[in-house]
Symmetry: C2
Subunit: 357 residues, 2 copies
C-alpha cells in the first residue's frame, strides 16, 4: 500500500510543480473508448492502447472533472492512511461535498465519482483495489488450500456447507499451504453447492469457487493469483449458451471496459471445462435444450465476431451452438442423476482433457 | 430428516389406501391465494388460512397436477434417502421425463415443478428445506459465535475479511458457543464489509450478517434460530426507503407468498435499527436525500396500507418519509466519516434503544 500512497504523492507534487512553474496544471488521461482498445494476439489479452488526452485545470470544459479527479485522489489518500476501504457507492458519498462559497457540489451523480475513480486508475496505473475502493462482494470458496487473511488462518476444507465468503478485495490474502492441483470456477452458486455437497474438491484434489453470474473483481484476482503464484490451472464451468461463454471470455481475455487492467485480471491460460455442444451430444442432453430467444441469437452472433473467438475450435463450437438453436444449462446434468456432474461428468472431462481453449 | 421421509410415506400410503377402497385418490391442498392469507395480530405474523380444495387423480382437470405432485414426492424421497440436496432449478430437471408410451413430459416449464414443490409443502406441512430442495445461496456472516456444520467447527470471529459464506440451507447447523449478545442483519454487502473492517462485531459483541437485497431463506432460518434458541435480539439495518422497510417487514412478519411457513421464518421480535427519518434529521443526512421516483412513492403508499404497519409509530414514520419526498441510503453515513456508522451511529442507536418495532 506504500506504493499507492507514493504514486498519489507524485501526482500531487507534479501538479504543484506545474503551478509553481506558471504552467497550467494538467494530467495525461488515457482514452477509455473502444477506439483505444485492441486484442493483443501474443499476450492473448484485451489491452488498452496508448492514446491519451490532456486535462487542464484552467479550462472551463475541463475544470470540473479536474477537480473531481483530485478530490478522489485526496479522499483515497485518507483511506490509505487510515487503512480503510469503501465501496464505489460510499466513495460517491465521500465526494459529495459542496464547494465552499458556492451552491455547487463536487459530484451530483455516482456516475461522476465512478468516472473520477476510473480516471485516477488510468492516470497513475492503479488498480481500484490499490486505491482501497472495493467492488462488489459475492461468492463462495472451498477446497484444499489454507490461507492467511487479516491474521486469521483459514482452511477452506473445514468450513461446513457454506464455505469461505470471498471478500470484494483479495489482494492481501496469503496462500499458506496449497494442496489443490487446479481450480474450478462456476457461474452458479447452485452448482457450487452441488459439487460441495459431493465433496468434489476432496475427491479431485482441487478448489471450487463460484459467484452468481459474472465473477467479481475479488474472485478474478483470486483466480489470477492462484494461477500466477501456484501455476494452478483454472477451469471454467458455465452453461452451454452465449452468456456462459462470455463469462469465460472475460475471465480469460479481460473485458473492454476494464482493458486498462487486463494484465492484472485476465487469465490467458484459463480453459472451458464445459458445458460444450459436444457434451450436450455425448451426454444426451438435447432433450433439455431451451430454445434461443432473439436476444440469445444476437449475443451469439456478437461473440462469434469477437477477435478472441476466432480460433478454429471456437468458431466450430459457436457454429454448432448456432445450429443447435438453443442452450443447455449445467443444472440439466441432474436429470442424469443428482451426483452425475460430480461422479461422471467432471472426472471424465478432466481425464480426457476435453477443454476448449 | 426421518420425519420428512415418514410424512412422504404417509402420503403414499393414503393414496394407495384410497385406491384399494375404490375411492378416487385425492389430496387436500390448502389454497395459496391472497383470499386465504391473514395477518394474525396476536402472533404478529402473516398466516395462511385453512381454506383448501381437493385434487383428484381421476379428473381430467386435475390429473396432470396430481401426477406432478406425486412425481416430486417420489424424487424428494430419493433425495432424502441419498442425503442429497438440489436447487429448485435442478428439481425441475429431475422431473423432466417423458411419460412412457406418450410424447408428454411430466413438466415443461420450471413454473410447473415449482408449483408441485409448493403443493407438496402445503399438503403435508413441510418446509422446502425438509424436502432437501434448496433456495438461493447468498450472504456472509462474522461475529462471536462458534458453529458446527458438516462435522467442521467454524469460528465466525476467525475468518479473515470474507467471513463465512451462508449456505442455502441452515437447518443442520449446530450452535456450539454463542458469546454474541445480538445480531445485526443488513441488506447490503458493502455495509457488511464496512462494519467487518471496523470489527464492529468484536467491539459491540455481536454477529453481523448480510445478503444483497432480500434475505435468502437460509439467512432467515439462521436469524430465526439464533432468536429462538439463544434469545438473541435481531436488529435490521436497511436504507431509509420503502424497499428497505419492506425487507424489514418480511423478516419480521413473513410474506404473503410464504404465509404457510411464517411460523418457521418470521421473527416477530425483530426491530429496525435504522435508517429512520429521525436518524436522517439527527445526523444531518438531508443533504444526501435522493428524490423519490413514482415507483418509490407508490411502494410507500402500499406499505403504509399493510395491516402490519398500522401501529402509531410506524404510521408516523411512513408519514415522515412521505413528507421527506426522498430516500437516504446507509452509505451516506460515510460522508460523516468512513467509520462513522461503526463508531458513532450504531453505538448511539444501541445505547438509546431507538428502535422501530
Amino acid at each position: 500500500m506504500v506504493k499507492a500512497k507514493e504514486k498519489l504523492n507524485q501526482l500531487g507534487k507534479s501538479l504543484v510543480e506545474q503551478a509553481k512553474k506558471g504552467e497550467n496544471p494538467n494530467m495525461d488521461i488515457p482514452i477509455r473508448a473502444l477506439s483505444n482498445v485492441t486484442y493483443d494476439q501474443k499476450k492473448r489479452m484485451i489491452m488498452m492502447g496508448n492514446k491519451s488526452s490532456k486535462r487542464y485545470l484552467f479550462n472551463v470544459a475541463h475544470i470540473k472533472k479536474f477537480l473531481q479527479t483530485t478530490e478522489i485522489a485526496a479522499n483515497v489518500q485518507k483511506l490509505l492512511v487510515a487503512g480503510k476501504h469503501v465501496s464505489l457507492r460510499q466513495a460517491f458519498y465521500m465526494m459529495r461535498r459542496t464547494i465552499p462559497g458556492t451552491q455547487i457540489d463536487v459530484v451530483e451523480e455516482q456516475e461522476e465519482s465512478n468516472k473520477a475513480v476510473e480516471d485516477l486508475e488510468l492516470v497513475r496505473g492503479f488498480s481500484r483495489e490499490e486505491l482501497n475502493i472495493n467492488a462488489n462482494k459475492n461468492g463462495s470458496a472451498a477446497g484444499k488450500i489454507i490461507i492467511k487473511d487479516k491474521g486469521d488462518i483459514i482452511d477452506w476444507s473445514k468450513l461446513g456447507s457454506g464455505g469461505w465468503a470471498i471478500p470484494s478485495n483479495t489482494e492481501d490474502i496469503e496462500f499458506k499451504k496449497v494442496d489443490a492441483k487446479f481450480v474450478i470456477y462456476m457461474e452458479k452458486a447452485a452448482i457450487w453447492e452441488r459439487l460441495h455437497e459431493d465433496r468434489v474438491w476432496d475427491k479431485l484434489n482441487c478448489i471450487i469457487i463460484s459467484s452468481q453470474g459474472q465473477a467479481t473483481r475479488g474472485i478474478r484476482r483470486l483466480l489470477r493469483r492462484l494461477n500466477d503464484e501456484y501455476k494452478l490451472p483454472i477451469y471454467i464451468l458455465v452453461d452451454n449458451d452465449p452468456w456462459g461463454y462470455y463469462i469465460y471470455s472475460v475471465l480469460k481475455y479481460g473485458s473492454i471496459a476494464l482493458a486498462n487492467i487486463s494484465e492484472k485480471l485476465a487469465i490467458p491460460s484459463a480453459r472451458l471445462i464445459g458445458l460444450t455442444c459436444e457434451d450436450v451430444n455425448k451426454y444426451g442432453l438435447k432433450k433439455y435444450l431451451i430454445k434461443f430467444q432473439k436476444v440469445d441469437e444476437s449475443r451469439l452472433n456478437q461473440i462469434k465476431n469477437y477477435e478472441w473467438f476466432q480460433s478454429k475450435d471456437w468458431q466450430r463450437e459457436l457454429k454448432e451452438m448456432k445450429d443447435q438453436k438453443g442452450k443447455v444449462e449445467l443444472d440439466a446434468l441432474v436429470a442424469k442423476g443428482v451426483t452425475f456432474i460430480s461422479d461422471v461428468y467432471l472426472p471424465e472431462k478432466l481425464k480426457s482433457k476435453a477443454f476448449l481453449d
